[in-house]
Symmetry: C2
Subunit: 381 residues, 2 copies
């Protein structure tokens, strides 16, 4: 049920004709309250789409009544005409729901540089029927090259969190090419939501680095209706929210464009968490290692060559690397035979022991495959 | 004639049995003097192969009598046993040529983590016959996945420079996966050679970024015999050396593993050269853009998304992007139709106009292809 699992929300997902595939391409999620507290995090890319520019203004006061999302076009690098499309979309949703346009977030995803057909969007907004079980349709409507919708629910005692995500490529920190909407009926102020969302995304979406590419349109939004009347403890809410974000991140990894392996890079005994993340990212972005995994080749030399490009503290000649629990490099020298490593399963675990501290981090990535190249060499959806 | 074009050098390239292909795999280049001035630049990867560790010691005094290079194994992450192989190889060459082992550079290239068979190398050193026309064989012997040898010659009035290079993947700054030996019969001190070599590599090999991956074994070596008796002017020598390095870099780009396009990313009107290089590199490392070029898709949105990840000074909404001389993005908005861009030729030119200064830089890269993935998914040579 995704975004309509928590009480106080309605949603819709419908076909308005933006996608060449003819699939659902417009979603609206409404927060019926009583609270309309919200928080959002945005791509750190300096090239930002028009809906990002708009939504950053809207989220300023921490109050959001609705969010409208479209696939079939990113509305990025489309100039002032593109910004007017975003603005008009927010106005139409506001009119329909009798709220202020300055309380309507907008998200778009798809090809950069093409204008969206405003008339189709406005007709869709008019036609949309928001219902208390519309979450599934909304999750379908935000898909681009995703092969399946991504949703997650975390039910607590008397309150809950639900969410939907889209994203299948360009998954990289700050954030991935993804749109995420998470709803909760917990009663929390926007400042608390903001802090919890930043912590949750830091250890989930921000550590998913499918292909090193950063989008212009990423947005993760958290809406709280307060309809449960419950104010959960900070730690309790954080744990539930992080669980939902981590679950959605794993679903994004598992559906990454053309991938045949889900790779978890776990760096342990680092001097700092930042060091551990830097090492994990360097390996996650190493095309040679990722191509080797595609070929079921446990080429640990490429792991070490990637680690060597970082500024993390470690001794290059006292480092252990295990692949799928076979220690192929021990103290910087050949360890167990690489022939013992079985890379046929989709899940791959790379353990890098830096031996200089006690910090740990996991970074998620995928392999580099023929299908990745194929899907991204003629992207037009 | 590569490294034996300049007078005062002999070379050999022969089969010693390191490569599974049975091809030539050991090269030796000797400087007969009268000068033995030398300079070298090394990979900035912190994971450094045993020959790199050795060669950094040798180059310390700026005197080099010979360089020995092998393909068929990187001798990296092979521990103290691996270092002994490097040391013994240098000793054998020194004995053969009646020079000091501390004047013998060693380079290795191939798979990380396997020990080299020292007996085969020593037998090869004994058998090698160095001749004044051995440059062609030496250029063949350093090849790994290269499809052809890379050599360059620059003939000046009374003196000359010649060089050879190998490298077909893992081409990235600091440096590429490459070994380069350049010889000259100009008479210059090692300090002058060092300054000239650093300037030449800075604008050539360091701006070749085929796949964002950095090797553990890269070394570019410049040997000067002084046999011409001529001391060229600094600017004259710099121009000739840079021309040889740039020519070899273009040959490396043109033979990059699996590539079907050579992409030149030219960033103009940047605030600084560093900014221009950062922008070029960000685009050069964007898998999505590189896959699009493979598919002959002028996806300029991916160029802008990559530029947006940099810290370079620019206004995201006042930037022009041209692909093969069609301005597809003008002042941050759609420009000429992308249908006007013809990406069928191998050479692709991307022009990014930041409009904030007068600095320029070119970064060279390749597209991301099925064949790149294929070749690197089962690399074993």
């Amino acid at each position: 049920m995704s975004v309509t699992h928590a009480t106080g929300f309605t949603a819709a997902g419908l076909v308005v004709g933006l996608k060449s595939s003819g699939g659902k391409d417009l979603a609206i999620v409404r927060n019926l309250g009583p609270s309309q507290a919200a928080a959002a995090v945005f791509t750190s890319n300096r090239a930002q789409a028009n809906p990002i520019i708009w939504s950053k203004q809207v989220i300023g006061d921490g109050i959001v009544g609705a969010i409208v999302l479209n696939s079939g076009g990113a509305n990025c690098y489309t100039g002032s005409a593109g910004f007017q499309v975003t603005h008009a979309t927010a106005e139409a949703v506001a009119d329909k729901l009798s709220i202020s346009a300055t309380d309507v977030l907008v998200c778009s995803t798809g090809l950069i540089g093409d204008q969206l057909p405003l008339d189709k969007i406005l007709a869709g907004v008019t036609a949309a029927e928001l219902t208390a079980d519309g979450g599934a349709d909304a999750a379908l409507a935000i898909m681009t090259t995703d092969s399946r919708p991504k949703t997650s629910v975390n039910q607590q005692d008397g309150w809950s969190i639900g969410g939907m995500a889209k994203g299948a490529g360009m998954l990289a920190p700050g954030l991935a090419t993804m749109l995420v909407v998470i709803t909760t009926d917990a009663d929390l102020a926007s400042s608390a939501l903001d802090a919890a969302l930043r912590e949750a995304t830091r250890v989930s979406f921000d550590r998913l680095d499918s292909d090193g590419c950063m989008s212009t349109n990423d947005q993760v939004t958290l809406l709280a209706s307060g309809a449960s009347g419950i104010v959960p403890a900070e730690a309790e809410f954080q744990a539930a929210l992080t669980a939902v974000c981590a679950d959605l991140a794993l679903q994004l990894q598992g559906d990454a464009e053309g991938s045949s392996h889900d790779i978890t890079i776990e760096t342990v005994n680092a001097r700092s968490e930042d060091d551990a993340v830097e090492v994990g990212r360097a390996v996650a972005r190493n095309n040679l290692f990722k191509a080797a995994v595609f070929g079921n080749d446990p080429n640990w030399g490429r792991v070490l060559a990637a680690v060597g490009t970082t500024a993390a503290e470690f001794d290059p000649y006292d480092i252990d690397v295990s692949i799928n629990h076979v220690m192929v490099c021990r103290s910087g020298e050949p360890g167990e035979s690489r022939d013992l490593v079985d890379l046929h399963p989709r899940a791959v675990h790379v353990l890098i022991d830096l031996k200089v501290g006690d910090a740990t981090a996991r970074v998620l990535t995928n392999d580099l495959t023929h299908d990745y190249v194929h899907e991204n060499s003629a992207y037009s959806s």
